[in-house]
């Protein structure tokens, strides 16, 4: 094979590699654009709250004391749900949330690492001792959704689950103290 031919073959291979690199560059840019576009237009971001809490005392007083758990509607209409994830249950076992309204879920744990997801939604976070896990979301599926622990937390892990009751606006009526529990069927 002449040197000219070899040179031509090498140039063709180089051209293919450059074309491939260019295509991959476009794919990476497109993937990043999709992530940025979704974040800016739909408000979809990884939950990234960093907030410390003492796991040894969180049940004694303050935000995660027993009387403060569950769903609270602030005077401005903001809905906040406070949940404790503990071996091997969520407290409370059922939470009431409104359909199609912004909701803030706040989780804390006094013992080990747990994980939370709500089926059929993008709600998915870890609950780490010493930190408050917070997720902002809007429930657009009505009915009862399962909320299991998805991080192995001990022998009773498979029994650790709760229910999210998504209520239509007409049924979501908090009491005078702004609190609301699941409706009983």
């Amino acid at each position: 094979m002449s040197e000219l031919q070899q040179h031509r073959h090498e140039r063709r291979i180089l051209g293919t590699e450059i074309a491939w690199a260019f295509g991959v560059g476009i794919l990476i840019a497109a993937t990043l654009s999709v992530i940025v576009f979704t974040a800016l237009t739909k408000g979809v971001n990884p939950p990234s709250n960093v907030e410390r809490i003492d796991p040894k005392t969180l049940h004694l007083a303050g935000e995660f004391a027993e009387h403060n758990l569950g769903t609270t509607v602030a005077p401005d209409g903001g809905v906040t749900v406070r949940i404790i994830a503990t071996q091997f249950m969520f407290v409370p076992r059922c939470i009431a949330v409104p359909y199609g309204r912004p909701v803030t879920l706040r989780f804390a744990t006094p013992d080990v690492i747990h994980g939370v997801l709500v089926t059929g939604t993008n709600v998915n976070t870890m609950v780490v001792p010493g930190y408050v896990a917070q997720v902002h979301t809007e429930f657009i599926r009505s009915g009862e959704l399962l909320m299991p622990c998805h991080e192995y937390c001990g022998l009773g892990h498979s029994e650790m689950w709760a229910t999210v009751q998504v209520m239509p606006e007409s049924e979501f009526k908090p009491g005078s103290d702004g609190r609301i529990s699941c409706a009983r069927h």
């Binding site: 094979m1 031919q5 070899q6 073959h9 063709r12 291979i13 293919t16 590699e17 074309a19 491939w20 295509g23 991959v24 794919l27 993937t31 999709v34 979704t38 739909k42 408000g43 979809v44 971001n45 990884p46 939950p47 059929g120 939604t121 993008n122 709600v123 998915n124 997720v135 902002h136 979301t137 809007e138 429930f139 657009i140 599926r141």
Partner: protein
């Protein structure tokens, strides 16, 4: 005890001596196209799967942050 004679493959100067340059040139002419089609097809399927899951599963599940 007699030991095995040293293999010629151990000597780097002997490596590649048997390459048929004409055959290599033939292979090199077609490899980029075949590899490109295979890799391109695989990546296209991967991207298609990503887009389908993104559009049909992730977005309908609603906002989170």
């Amino acid at each position: 005890m007699p030991s095995d004679p040293p293999s010629t493959a151990d000597d780097p100067s002997n490596l590649g001596d048997d390459i048929d340059h004409a055959a290599l040139a033939r292979v090199m002419r077609t490899v980029p196209l075949g590899a490109g089609v295979l890799a391109g097809g695989a990546v296209a399927l991967l991207v298609l799967g990503y887009l389908l899951i993104y559009l049909l599963v992730f977005i309908p599940r609603g906002t989170v942050g």
